[in-house]
Amino acid sequence: MPLTAWRNWSFSSQPSDSKRPSLGLPDLAVGLGVLTTLYLIAHIGSESLVKFKPPDIIPSISLNPRNLPNYAARSTLRMFLALIASTLFTFIYGYVAARSKRAERLLIPLLDILQSVPVLGFLSVTVTAFIALFRGSLLGLEAAAIFAIFTGQAWNMTFSFYQSLRAVPHELDEMSSLYRLSRWERFTRLELPASVIGLVWNGMMSFGGGWFFLAASEAISVLNRQYTLPGLGSYVTAAVQAKDFTALAWAIGTMILVILLIDQFFWKPLVTVADRYKLEITAGEERRFWLVDLWRSASLPQYAGRLIQPLIRTIDRRLSKATAVPAKTHHREPSKWADRLYNSVLILISAALLFAATRFVLSEVGLREVGHAAKLGLLTGARVLVLLVFSTLVWTPIGVLIGFSPKLARVCQPLVQILASFPANFVFPFATLGFIKAGITLNWGSMLLMAMGAQWYLLFNVIGGAQSIPNELREMAASIGLKGIRQWRALIGPGIFSSWVTGAITASGGAWNASIVAEIVSWGNTTLKANGLGAYIADATTQGDWPRIVLGVGLMSLFVVGLNRLVWRPLYDLAENKYRLG
């Protein structure tokens, strides 16, 4: 079915005829592009199958800039593999959560918690596990890095998919039930298209965040061993160890280039194509993009499409038959007792896990250590707070300024998007050097580091919020002479409040995560450390001190989840109820 749609679209709404298009320049471009990509993937992929036995044969990083394209390609491959894994996870998890009430009760709170858990804290566990799994080849490390990126990307996309599934218009749902669409047909014709736009946009945002995790997971010290994967992140780590400025500069330049290329060749086309799956049927302008136009004007894709079509159709039919909905779907309400039993079991299991974890921690580590870690947590929390206050004071006015001017917005928005995707840990070394030279302790300096990654989310959202204030309201304010602080209090503040909350939640989450790599930094042989939970976890990871890792990560999760419930959730509700525009 999808391929007939392709054909129709490329002939722009004319009924498909059997006109045989001739091969031209677009075909050359498309053909070369596809072949090159396939070759690259195969070539880079094969490098991951190199044998290695930790810690003896570890691939070494050469700081020669000539290696950068190779390293960049390997990092990019990891990112995309993680994206594929995230997408698959999203479909399965989101689908089950949306379709089964019982599963939902478990899965959604679990997702909430997973979103708050600092991923980097678990690296030690995952690295050791994966290495054991893939003995003898580099795949273990690759898998661990991909897993780290996956955990940075997947949760957001899953939430979006779950919410899209629940927001499917009721009548479309009824129509599918009445016409007895099989599960497969319902998924491919209704549920998936309805969630495409949300998935693509969320994927775009999450993907950017993944670079940060990539950089942190390509070179890690676990259990006093150094593990490195050839890639941009490890290149930067090596450059930092060697105090090589030029290499660092090359790396940053390459990173920016990679982000731009991926944006042009992957995300923008995807967003353009996804536009046609809008649920509101309005005859608006179509989005256009040069790459998509090029693809459509080439005839190779159509030939290829025509070739595979019978195969796809057969698979489609087979899957439909296999997932057919039974004719008798009426069933009496599930018994209340089964429900209660399920709930009690869930509560029991959670309580048991909690109990086991606390006992483990307390016996290995002792209450005093818990208190110590908690105090460190408060310190890190204070840093996050200061960071948020500072970002709000600085970036909100700027964001509003940009948002109110369409010209500025057109220039700045893509810029901010890139800044948000750019892994801040690439720039940490510069800051570190600055701190060392100026003698600033990391207790303060880490705030700057954490801000470098997190504040862009705030800015980005505030810009969006300012754009969404209706022009009418601004004109009204101008006409009654509402200016300055008064205008902020009456109009602008409330208008951007809900966007600010969204941005602040994301920024805060990002800052907590960043603390693990921001509270311990090094340049060459000098290491700076701050007093905080992030440093605590990073230390414990390097030493392989399991109880401390569990304690640190557990406490940080507790902090984040607690803040979510006590601070962010009520603020979000307030934004939805009181300050919603229209």
Partner: protein, 436 residues
């Protein structure tokens, strides 16, 4: 065989939902309906009468709490495969072409692609959409989109074609046009379904199209009665029999206690439900009726204001409840108090409204008493919702609350702070001087 001429039967169908405060709200109470071959049946009722729920139960999309649905004598246990539905908001998949949308039902049945195509193109021709097979829904107007909806239903050649307020999302002219075409198809005998079940809240539409009109009451939903339409087709909207029937049905629907046909109605001792009308609508209605000499025919009123049953009747009901107007024989007549209210200036109209509200709506007096009894003179929304929850579903309770607040504020019985969700005693001002 007698059994086979009964295409679809609902036997003592009951549908109830659990109320948030415990207990149940019954949406349909022992409803029995029968559809035979070659007839158009209309389900007519106000919003809240459960007509859409009944439709979905008959289609097998919703399971009744008790009672059963028989399809040609066989009990239904899943979606009814002999039924095709046309939806109020068209329910087209935006990313499929017109043809792909039309084929969807057959495709899901595993019918081979070439047969699907042939049938779809034929059905699209029947609704006048030849040439549009490759278009996407977003390129079509509302009327054309609904035609695709019809084509999709036609393609299935169902026993019963169900239509859920199919024309209410269209503008008046397009709706008239489409209605006429469907009627034409039926008269010609070329209709691709054996019978039709139409859910509507437009009385004229029901009389125009149906052979039999089943009138549903609200709260709970039950069948108040049936009206046979034996006017020969094509039906003239201005014809005397047509007009008389429409009038009769208006009478029935504005008088919930009146028997329809010879089916007695149950007197129910229920908590008084406020009609969903705002004070603005009530005073607007009274002013118009006063303008026209104090009495107006409801169908005429509806047509000249371009309002349908669901828009006009709540205001009429509210005026009736508050003593501002009475309804009989399909006419609304303004009372003396109503005249005073319509003619009064702003201050006096608040006062009149307050008097009538306290006199006729017991719950309003209760609320005022409760506020006055409390020392700080305020009560929370939750408190009132708790009371309302015992009689209405969650959403209806909310709507009742909002209506009460709207009326109470106008009557200056109390004040309401929406952000704190609390009702306050009205501050005592200097008494204003009244005229007369």
């Amino acid at each position: 065989m007698d059994q086979n001429s009964n295409l679809l039967t609902a036997e003592k169908v009951v549908k109830s939902f659990p109320l948030p405060a415990g207990g149940e709200q019954t949406v349909l109470e022992e409803v029995s309906v029968n559809i035979v071959q070659a007839e158009i049946v209309a389900l007519l009722g106000r919003s809240g009468s459960g007509k859409s729920t009944l439709l979905r139960i008959l289609a097998g999309l919703v399971e009744p709490t008790s009672g059963r649905v028989l399809r040609q004598g066989v009990p239904l246990e899943g979606p009814n495969s002999g039924v095709a539905m046309v939806f109020q908001s068209f329910a087209l998949l935006p990313w499929l072409t017109v043809q792909e949308n039309a084929e969807l039902g057959l495709f899901a049945r595993g019918v081979p692609k070439d047969v699907c195509e042939k049938e779809a193109i034929h059905a699209l021709g029947m609704v006048g959409l030849e040439g549009f097979e490759g278009a996407y829904p977003k390129e079509l107007s509302g009327g054309m989109r609904q035609r695709v909806g019809f084509a999709r239903a036609f393609v299935m050649k169902p026993d019963v074609l169900m239509m859920d307020e199919p024309f209410s999302a269209l503008d008046v002219l397009t709706a008239e046009n489409l209605r006429g075409e469907i009627s034409d198809l039926w008269e010609r005998g070329a209709f691709p379904a054996k019978s039709v079940l139409l859910v509507t809240h437009n009385i004229e539409e029901a009389v125009l199209l149906a052979d039999r009109i089943v009138i549903l009451g609200a709260n709970p939903g039950l069948i108040r009665g049936e009206v046979r339409v034996e006017i020969p087709r094509p039906r003239d909207k201005k014809g005397p029999r047509f007009v008389a029937l429409v009038d009769y049905i208006y009478t029935v629907m504005t008088n919930p206690q009146a028997p329809v046909g010879d089916i007695p109605t149950k007197q129910s001792d229920r908590f008084l439900m406020l009609p969903h009308a705002r004070v603005g609508g009530i005073s607007g209605l009274l002013e118009i009726v006063a303008d026209r000499g104090g009495r107006e025919d409801l169908p005429k009123l509806a047509e000249s204001l371009r309002l349908e049953v669901d828009d006009l009747l709540p205001a009429v009901d509210a005026s009736n409840m508050l003593g501002f107007a009475t309804v009989s024989q399909g006419d609304v007549m303004i009372t003396d108090i109503g005249q005073q209210f319509a003619a009064a200036d702003v201050h006096r109209s608040h006062h009149i409204f307050k008097e009538q509200l306290l006199k006729n709506v017991p719950f309003a007096s209760t609320v005022v008493e409760t506020i006055n009894q409390k020392k700080n003179g305020r009560i929370g929304k939750e408190f009132l919702l708790d009371i309302l929850d015992e009689h209405f579903s969650e959403s209806e309770a909310e709507r009742q609350f909002q209506t009460l607040v709207d009326w109470g504020r106008y009557a200056q019985l109390f004040e309401y702070d929406a952000s704190e969700e609390r009702l306050y005693k009205v501050e005592e001002d200097e008494p204003t001087s009244f005229e007369g």
